[in-house]
């Protein structure tokens, strides 16, 4: 507990959870574009896809760096054991992000004949980053065994069915975010293609979520207890009902040729899934055994960085909102500077 009853660990937990959610939502749709790229072979349409995220994608990754650094400063124990446990998946994720980040820029600089090389790097990097992220989340849910503040699991714990399934799940989820984002930002052929792909993607994602809802409580008696004790059951029941409603809304607005609503409902789905995860592990930051408060850095550390963060975070948020506002509207073939 903090000074004068202010719980700094809780504040930091919320800030980091918020940062990670911003990351999942925002980098989610631009990673999704890379996943959808192979379905759209036309060079001009690929340009349009790129242009729908060009002004914002780098800002999206801001949240990943901020999340990492803030976790280090506010919860060094969580930072150390989670990152150690997820070593190879995170290295693969970083490798994927570097590849697609650089491919993104160099694609615009490369000559048309060479562009396909960077397209491939973009596709491969996006897939690798997403799949590894999903594996990392899955491994995290399964739990990170820690004894005396030291990770005691194996190097290849992540190479098991549940994390790999989560990897596939995240690829589908990001693809859905990407396809509904393109409904918002594009028109004509590309938009109708995306409308065509969104439906099956939504159904596949729902099937995956359904499997996860059964599989997850089987992993841990604690999660099962949590899900099925009285008060929590209400919360989870609520989340499930809202999830079903969001899916219905997505399919309905998709049929009605809405441009914005499918994306909004997809965001809602992702948000609900994220809340479900948060409720499942709360108040742990390293499931199954380390709570937010056990992993916290000393009060003076959390306070020291809170000052800077409270100053800078509103600026970053304002800048982000301003960017998306300026960038509103459809992107057309031939738009862009290249």
């Amino acid at each position: 507990m903090g000074i004068q009853g202010i719980d700094l660990s809780l504040i930091w937990g919320v800030i980091i959870a918020f940062g990670v959610m911003m990351y999942v939502i925002m980098d989610g749709f631009d990673l999704g574009l890379g996943i959808l790229f192979p379905l759209i072979p036309d060079a001009q349409e690929r340009d349009v896809m790129m242009n729908t995220v060009a002004p914002v994608w780098d800002g999206n990754e801001t949240w990943l760096i901020l999340g990492g650094a803030a976790l280090y400063g506010a919860f060094p124990l969580a930072y150390s054991v989670i990152l150690e446990a997820l070593y190879l998946p995170l290295i693969f994720m970083l490798a994927g992000l570097i590849f697609r980040g650089v491919a993104f820029e160099f694609r615009f600089k490369a000559s048309p004949e060479r562009r396909h090389i960077w397209d491939k790097a973009f596709i491969g990097g996006s897939l690798l980053a997403t799949f590894s992220q999903g594996i990392a989340i899955g491994t995290y849910i399964v739990g990170i065994p820690v004894v005396n503040r030291v990770f005691v699991g194996g190097a290849f714990d992540w190479l098991s069915p549940f994390p790999l399934f989560c990897g596939v799940g995240l690829v589908v989820a990001y693809a859905l975010l990407g396809s509904t984002w393109l409904l918002v930002k594009t028109e004509g052929m590309l938009e109708s293609r995306m409308r065509h792909y969104t439906r099956p993607l939504a159904f596949v994602l729902m099937a995956i979520v359904a499997v996860l809802c059964v599989w997850t409580p089987l992993l841990h008696p604690e999660i099962a207890t949590r899900w099925f004790t009285h008060a929590h059951t209400v919360v989870f029941g609520g989340l499930v009902i809202l999830g079903v409603l969001a899916l219905v809304g997505l399919l309905k607005t998709l049929r009605q040729y809405h441009s914005h609503w499918p994306f909004v409902f997809t965001l809602a789905l992702v948000f609900l899934g994220y809340m479900g995860l948060a409720f499942s592990i709360w108040p742990n930051i390293v499931p199954p055994s380390i709570s937010l408060w056990e992993a916290a850095s000393p009060l003076s550390s959390q306070l020291f960085i809170l000052i800077g963060t409270l100053f800078i975070l509103p600026i970053i948020l304002t800048y982000t909102c301003w960017s998306y506002y300026v960038f509103r509207g459809k992107v057309r073939i031939g738009d862009g500077y290249h």
């Binding site: 060009a54 124990l77 150390s80 570097i98 615009f108 990770f151 800078i312 301003w322």
Partner: protein, 473 residues
């Protein structure tokens, strides 16, 4: 406990990724200040040569900045993935310092960088100049935080240890730890010197290709003035840093000097050359100059410096490596000073822009600033071994418990990515350099938050494609 092989791999991996990364920020720091000076001179003199140079170097700055952001992403995670015992032990101090560095960088990107790269036609001259200056200051604030963290690991203070972990007690004492002012000054100047020689070599290349324009001449002239003034200052700062190290990390100095034992009360000689042998505990083939070690390190003719044998074997840094890395750094530093002096002499005789032998020297000296900087970092980092937090935590106790297999996979991946991806980026930068400054017809791009060109993607500030810089000159 970790076996030696895995620990070595972990250290090689960190050394590789951080060495690659630091090249970009170093040039970013130097170019940002260079751009601020160029814009200031342009505003003052209204001489368009400065403005042309500004547009030319701001493109290279943008690409370089982009490379730095991408390679820095890895660094933010590596402390946890590879050095988890360290992160848990000291994260309450190094974590917040890193967070502040990240916040500073984002603050920069969100505001002033955008105005600097894209605001030419949107804001007044004064406000634009202010933005450039703020970007330059911002890069130095980033340096401030990172160097503070590194210096704290070298000379820790302001903490107590509770339950086997570091707890910060006094942030002022932590941030302004004893080696910090010296290290910060030494690194910032290293960035300036590296950039000066990079700029100078670019100018020399153009002059050797007979692309003799006022812009290119101005570049060479400014770079050599910088070398003339700043390289000697760096030597003085380096000397002061050395004395500070002697006070706080005497084993590092003993290893740098290849100095094994003190004989009686004899003053310490300086080993000019030799091959320190950690097993035999002596420096073979040594060429020594009597008294000089005492003179340089204690500024006296009779005082001794501590010798390696006075430290337990397990506390000695590897003298074989840092004996040479230090000499590479110092030797290149001397060459840089010499180049500055030669430039001054040729300037007086008016042959500065014509003497091809000298221009070849300047071209050759292009990467030496960066090489000396890396050699210096190797010296200070290998020299603080076996400690990761000096006197408090050994590097061997800091590493994550990864197997050699895992570390080999990730190291191979990093080598592959860095050489493929950053080679293209560096190649692109070199092609931009080759295109040279263009007089008068540069049209700075429009852009801003939410637009095609935005400061979040610094590379979007550069209009040139790979092809358009492929065949020039």
């Amino acid at each position: 406990m970790l076996n030696l092989e895995a620990l070595d791999l972990a250290r090689i991996q960190f050394a590789f990724t951080v060495s690659f990364h630091i090249l970009f920020p170093a040039i970013t720091i130097g170019l940002a200040s260079f751009l601020a000076v160029l814009e200031g001179l342009w505003l003052k003199s209204n001489n368009s040569v400065y403005k042309d140079l500004y547009h030319f170097w701001s493109k290279i700055f943008a690409v370089n900045f982009g490379m730095g952001v991408v390679s820095g992403l890895v660094m933010a995670y590596e402390f946890g993935t590879n050095w988890s015992r360290f992160s848990d032990f000291a994260g309450s101090i190094t974590g917040p310092l890193l967070t502040y560095e990240v916040l500073t960088a984002f603050f920069l990107e969100a505001g002033f960088l955008g105005v600097m790269l894209f605001g030419w036609n949107r804001v007044g001259r004064g406000l634009h100049f202010f933005s450039t200056v703020m970007v330059a200051i911002g890069t130095l604030i980033s340096t401030f935080w990172i160097l503070s963290s590194n210096s704290w690991m070298q000379t820790p203070q302001g903490f107590s240890i509770v339950d086997g972990r570091i707890v910060p007690m006094d942030w002022l004492a932590i941030v302004f730890n004893p080696s910090f002012p010296f290290r910060l000054a030494h690194m910032a100047i290293a960035a300036f010197v590296s950039t000066a020689f990079f700029v100078g070599a670019s100018a020399a290349w153009h002059l050797l290709r007979r692309n003799d324009t006022p812009q290119v001449r101005k570049m060479l002239s400014m770079a050599l003035w910088m070398a003339l003034i700043v390289a000697p200052i760096q030597a003085v700062v380096g000397d002061a840093h050395g004395l500070n190290t002697l006070e706080h990390q005497p084993a590092k100095i003993a290893a740098i000097e290849g100095h094994w034992e003190n004989v009686g009360n004899e003053p310490t000689p300086l080993v000019l050359f030799g091959i320190p042998d950690m097993q035999a505990e002596k420096t073979g083939y040594a060429i020594e100059v009597p008294y000089l070690g005492s003179l340089i390190l204690t500024h006296s003719l009779d005082k001794q410096i501590p010798a390696l044998k006075s430290f337990p074997k397990e506390d000695r840094p590897n003298a074989t490596i840092i004996f040479f890395s230090f000499r590479i750094m110092a030797g290149l530093g001397m060459l840089m000073i010499l180049t500055g002096l030669l430039g001054l002499a040729l300037r007086r005789s008016g042959a500065l822009y014509r003497n091809r032998l000298f221009l070849r020297l300047v071209l050759l000296m292009g990467p030496t600033g960066l090489i000396a900087m890396l050699a210096g970092w190797i010296t200070t980092e290998v020299g603080r071994q076996p400690w990761v937090v000096y006197g408090l935590q050994r590097t061997a106790d800091a590493a994550s418990n990864h197997s050699a297999v895992q570390l080999s996979i990730s190291l191979a991946l990093f080598v592959l990515i860095y050489f493929s991806v950053f080679a293209v980026g560096i190649g692109y930068m070199m092609k931009l350099v080759r295109k040279g400054p263009q007089p008068h017809h540069e049209h700075p791009p429009h852009g801003g938050p939410g637009q095609e060109r935005t400061a979040r993607r610094p590379l979007s500030a550069v209009a040139e494609t790979f092809a358009s810089v492929e065949h020039v000159n």
